[in-house]
């Protein structure tokens, strides 16, 4: 065995221990369920013994006293009634425990993800994150619900049957015990082989699905480029590989599952028959014991079959568990409050002092940035993509920890504020106006239940979103679908403005949209923006001339540095960019440009 395998096994054991540690939340329930399982199994195992008593004590000697026989019959039916009822309770109880464990685990993972920093989200593809929270925990659910409960059930049943056998005839029971190594070897070989085959099948299946998904999404391209035949060939090949993998698993299953287990059963049967047969050469044999043994043997193999069928899921679940625990242990947390001063945002003065920042810790995207926005002022950030505009916003929102320099709000370092205070007082409007599934009012109110319908309406009116909302069939209760697809991008912008205004923030952080929208909405957006800025400190990534011209200070960013700063007038006098703009406006004198002035 090489080192790698050793390590894998070690980590497998650790994962298993951690998985089982969740049982601690349900200690009492687990114990009760386990006791019920023992009783049910006990009742199950006693059945053949009752049959044996009947055969040996009454049937063979042909004595039939009425009362004891009725009692025996009642006992037999009673035992199975108990077994059925207790088993039902036990199975459900195990499932409930398992499902509740998954609930705990899921909430734990989800909560963890909520408190991870944006750095984590930048580095993790969304699809795989979603899959960890849902699909991987679902696989672990299968582990608990089917695998663990099957293994516990089956093992207890097997132990019970052996106990019954020992009770009837210890020697024969020991002989039957010889079957165990056969079965264990069979299981081990099957597990080793099947986990390989199973993995290949899964890989092929996911390739198949990926190919299909991609083809469906890109069919217009495939057709436009006349590659249908080639893609059909490629798909056919993956489909064939998948078929081959499936056929392999069928072969393995036909070789090793039921047929093989049946063979071991026959061996057991032959051993029992020989044992009694050889005994009968010299002494009389208790037929009841023989009968009970055969009956036990018959039932012994069902649990085996069940365990073997679950083995493949087991492997998959361990991989999933490892991924989930990896996520739970992730260290890339969101920045949190330091100290317990709990200052409040009163005036809304924002100051960046010598801030240098790098997302990866190496290549700075902001270099020594310093500026102050006095209460009520507007700071416009301009510069091309990658100049560092968004990073300034990200830092002010405390999305990333700042390593060099400090951001102050009202003279207090950003890190001193509580999350609640920060989120309430700083309103962010993003270029991509994200909508949640729900209705219009939900999207403005979010989780702030305290906001009355009136306040929601006021916020919408303030940003002039009520014009289009009141035209909707259900107005404020108009349903919003996935990502707000039924609304135009302009309408989504207005809704996200309303969402921000409903919070009545002191500081406004704007990432203006560049997307072109129709004239009517554009006007509404312009008006809303200037109304929103009034009385609030605003830091804006500006694309709109109106925002830029009204700004108290314009910061021109280039490669993470502020290369030019000043008001509209000051910058004009510099004869740089603003001068050019001015010239252009007068030279062409075209509609929107001149009206913006």
């Amino acid at each position: 065995m090489n080192e790698e395998q050793n390590l894998a096994q070690l980590s497998g054991r650790r994962v298993m221990r951690r998985l089982l540690s969740y049982l601690k939340y349900f200690k009492k329930k687990v114990i009760i369920t386990f006791i019920v399982l023992l009783i049910a199994t006990g009742a199950d195992v006693l059945g053949p013994i009752v049959m044996k008593v009947f055969i040996d004590d009454y049937l063979t000697p042909r004595v039939f006293p009425v009362q004891p026989l009725i009692l025996l019959g009642a006992l037999f039916i009673g035992l199975y009634a108990i077994s059925a009822l207790f088993n039902y309770y036990q199975v459900i109880s195990f499932q409930k425990i398992a499902l509740n464990i998954i609930q705990i685990m899921r909430v734990e993972v989800f909560s963890k993800v909520q408190h991870l920093g944006l750095r984590f989200f930048d580095q993790t593809p969304g699809g795989s994150l979603v899959s960890r929270i849902t699909n991987d925990t679902e696989t672990i659910k299968d582990l608990y619900v089917t695998v663990l409960s099957t293994i516990v059930n089956s093992t207890i049943m097997m132990i019970g049957i052996f106990a019954g056998m020992f009770f009837l005839d210890a020697r024969l029971a020991l002989i039957c015990f010889i079957l165990m190594p056969f079965l264990l070897v069979l299981m081990w070989v099957y597990r080793t082989l099947s986990s390989k085959v199973y993995r290949v099948t899964r890989v092929k299946l996911s390739q198949l699905n990926a190919k299909l998904n991609e083809s469906l999404q890109g069919m217009s391209m495939i057709q436009a480029m006349r590659q249908q035949k080639r893609l059909r060939r490629e798909f056919g090949k993956i489909n064939n590989d998948h078929k081959k993998a499936l056929l392999k698993s069928v072969r393995l299953n036909s070789l090793m599952l039921r047929s093989a287990v049946y063979s071991v059963y026959l061996i057991g049967l032959m051993m029992i028959l020989s044992f009694f047969g050889i005994q009968s050469f010299d002494n009389a044999v208790k037929i009841g014991v023989l009968y009970a043994f055969i009956n036990y043997l018959d039932r012994f193999f069902d649990p085996i079959n069940q365990i073997m069928q679950q083995l493949t899921i087991f492997q998959q679940a361990m991989v999933s568990a490892e991924r989930v625990f990896g996520l739970l242990d992730d260290q890339r947390m969101a920045p949190v409050q330091r100290g317990d001063v709990n200052p409040a945002v009163q005036e809304g003065r924002v100051e960046f002092r010598n801030v240098t920042f790098a997302y990866d810790g190496k290549n700075p995207v902001l270099k020594n940035i310093s500026f102050t926005a006095n209460p009520g002022e507007t700071i416009a950030l301009v510069g091309h993509t990658g100049s560092g505009k968004s990073s300034i916003i990200n830092l002010l929102m405390r999305f990333y920890p700042i390593e060099q320099g400090t951001v102050f709000i009202d003279g207090q370092p950003l890190t001193a504020f509580s999350d609640g205070e920060l989120r309430k007082r700083i309103g962010l409007v993003l270029q991509d106006s994200f909508m949640f599934v729900g209705d219009v009012a939900d999207n403005i109110r979010l989780s702030h239940e305290k906001l009355t319908d009136e306040q929601v309406r006021k916020a919408a009116e303030f940003v002039q979103a009520d014009h289009f909302i009141t035209k909707l069939p259900k107005q404020y209760h108009e349903p919003v679908g996935e990502r707000g697809a039924t609304f135009s991008s302009g309408q989504r912008q207005l809704l996200s403005f309303a969402r921000t205004m409903a919070q009545d923030p002191k500081i406004l952080v704007l990432d203006e949209a560049t997307a072109s929208v129709d004239t009517e909405t554009e006007e509404a957006i312009q008006t809303a923006l200037s109304k929103m800025r009034k009385g609030r400190t605003t830091i804006a990534i500006a694309h709109r001339l109106s925002t830029i011209q009204d700004a108290d200070q314009i910061l021109v960013l280039h490669r993470g540095e502020i290369v030019e700063r000043g008001t509209h007038q000051e910058l004009l006098q510099k004869g740089g960019l603003y001068f050019n703009m001015y010239q252009l406006q007068h030279g062409k004198g075209a509609g929107e440009v001149s009206s913006a002035q």
Binding site: F110, S111, E214, S220, N239, I287, K424, E592
Partner: protein
């Protein structure tokens, strides 16, 4: 059971496998009758102490032989029957895929991808189940069940068989009932899970908004609720699922009880031996599976039927755009003529385009501009024949586009779409998508033309870098340039850019346009764009508004006209200066 008739074509196609499969399955069933019978004989011999070592040895050897044969027959029928069902799934999947490649773009816009995927996965699995487990349960329940009952009645006692089997139908009915109940509840649990999935998806996509508004805790509460719903629905499933085993155990135990009571009566009466009774109880144990199989059969068949119907419905959908009778397969070439009186999308009640008439001579460049929703993309899609025009026509070199085959039309056109579709493959393979046999030199040449060569070299594995979900993530601009290179490689008569320069910066745009001019001398190019700089140099620019042409002419004409174009041009010049920051000033 209709599904077996529906799938008859397949059973016929694989008749050898299925015939032998069923024969071996029946042989297996027959073989499994033997061990209990042997047990009965031996028990009687043991009881009467008439067993000799020789007879014992003979019987044991007999069992060994039966065991070996049984093992192989079991292997063979599984291979044949399950193997065939896998072949069926494989065939159906290929058929579906082939069908998808023939359907028109409109179809893919109407149907959700997830839904189509479900047909190719879940539905095919259900049909595969019907052709595999369905056949197994059908024959096992009938032949094995029949054989066991016949053996019990003929060799042991028909009266005892009748009495003992009385509770069995109850079990069949109950398990069938559980089965359908389980199916329903399972569906609900699935739906709850997919709802949870959607919520997590939303949460992850909206992470910035959630953080900005401090919505984390509210989201956790929401998640807890949705997840609890999944738990509750799964518990409802468990409540049914857990009924199977206890019900079966209890009813089978009751059968044993009946067998033992009444069997004893016959044993005492002398019409039966104790060995016979032992065999009888063993047979009884063997009857459980066929009875269950009978119940399963109905569920498998029901599901398979519904799924097969869905697949057939999908396969029956006809492509909307097909080759006309007698269409020529000559690749069209020459000037392009648009002459459309009106066009509306199927199912829409207003015209998307009206009175579109213009001509582009071979070798010229046409620019199409206008607001979002003005009809630019519609115009291009009509040229690609994604929809057919009823009122008017488009012709290339004097030939209507319907008069040539789709394949010929498509080979004349290179298309760079608005949303860049790349496939999970290497960059080189993506660029060579339309011409897989292209050499590395050709690929690099077009990559240079599309100003993406340098970017590609920066990737660790260069042209062999895998893109897509499992590969590197490209920026929007990089994707656009790769799809431009891809279209250029085919060197088509006619090249269409559907707003495909939107994500590249101004400098790159200039160099791509410059390269195009050189490369595509004597070839026609159509460019639709938001940014007017992309069409400035075009021989003809049409300005679209509300599905009509509102302005037309060269850049100079349009600037002088002082209309929408001129206004937009000035505005964009200004904004580009602003967003370029001080660098250009």
């Amino acid at each position: 059971m209709r599904i077996f008739i529906d799938l008859w074509w397949f059973f016929k196609q694989e008749r050898l496998k299925y015939s032998f499969g069923v024969i071996f399955l029946m042989l297996s069933s027959f073989l499994s009758m033997i061990p209990p019978y042997v047990v009965g004989i031996l028990v009687d011999d043991i009881r009467t102490r008439s067993l000799t070592p020789l007879t014992l040895g003979k019987w044991i050897a007999f069992l060994v032989i039966i065991g070996i044969i049984y093992y192989f027959t079991g292997y063979i029928w599984r291979q044949l029957i399950f193997g065939s069902s896998i072949i069926l799934a494989n065939q159906l999947r290929n058929d579906l895929y082939k069908h998808f490649t023939k359907l028109s773009p409109n179809f893919f816009q109407k149907r959700r991808i997830g839904d189509l995927m479900a047909h190719a996965t879940n539905d095919i699995n259900a049909v595969q189940g019907a052709a595999g487990e369905g056949i197994l349960t059908l024959f096992d329940s009938i032949t094995l069940g029949g054989m066991v009952i016949v053996t019990m009645s003929v060799f042991i006692s028909w009266k005892l068989t009748l009495i003992t089997l009385l509770p069995m139908p109850i079990m069949v009915i109950l398990t069938m009932y559980y089965g359908s109940l389980l199916h329903k509840r399972f569906g609900k649990a699935q739906a709850a899970f997919s709802d949870l999935n959607d919520k997590v998806q939303e949460n992850v996509s909206g992470v910035r908004v959630i953080k900005a508004f401090g919505e984390e805790d509210a989201q956790i509460t929401m998640f807890r609720k949705a997840s609890q719903d999944v738990v509750n629905k799964n518990i409802a499933v468990a409540k049914v699922d857990s009924l199977f085993d206890p019900t079966i155990t209890f009813i089978v135990a009751f059968c044993y009880f009946l067998a033992l009571i009444f069997g004893s009566v016959y044993v005492v009466g002398g019409s039966m031996t104790l060995g016979g009774l032992t065999s009888f109880t063993l047979y009884l144990g063997q009857l459980v599976w066929p009875m269950l199989a009978f119940g399963f059969l109905f569920n498998i068949v029901e599901r398979g039927s519904a799924s097969y119907d869905r697949i057939r419905r999908l396969l029956a959908i006809k492509p909307e755009i097909t080759d006309q009778k007698g269409a020529s397969d000559q690749v069209p070439s020459g000037s392009i003529d648009f002459s459309i009186r009106s066009f509306r999308y199927p199912g829409s009640d207003s015209d998307a385009l009206t009175d579109i008439r213009f001509q582009v001579n071979q070798g010229q460049t046409l620019g199409i501009v206008g607001k979002t929703g003005a009809g630019k993309t519609t115009l291009l899609r009509l040229l690609l024949r994604e929809f057919d025009i009823k009122d008017g026509q488009i012709s290339i070199g004097g030939t209507a586009i319907q008069a040539v085959t789709l394949d010929a039309l498509r080979s004349a056109i290179g298309y760079v779409p608005q949303d860049h579709i790349l496939f999970s493959a290497t960059i080189a393979e993506n660029i060579a998508f339309a011409k897989p046999e292209a050499s590395q030199e050709e690929v690099e040449r077009v990559a240079k033309l599309a100003s993406i060569h340098e970017d590609i070299l920066h990737f660790k594995e260069g042209y062999e870098t895998v893109v897509g979900e499992r590969g590197v993530t490209l920026s929007g601009g990089q994707k656009q340039r790769i799809s431009i290179a891809r279209a250029l490689l085919a060197d088509p008569e006619l090249l269409i850019f559907d707003d495909s320069l939107s994500a590249v910066d101004a400098r790159t745009e200039v160099s791509i346009l410059h390269a195009l001019k050189h490369e595509r001398r004597n070839k026609t190019t159509l460019i639709s764009a938001h940014r007017l700089s992309a069409v400035e140099h075009a021989d003809l620019i049409i300005v679209m508004g509300d599905g009509k042409i509102i302005e037309r002419g060269t850049h100079e004409d349009l600037i002088q006209a002082e209309g929408w174009y001129a206004e937009m041009y000035a505005h964009q010049q200004l904004e580009s200066l602003v967003s370029e920051g001080g660098t250009k000033a």
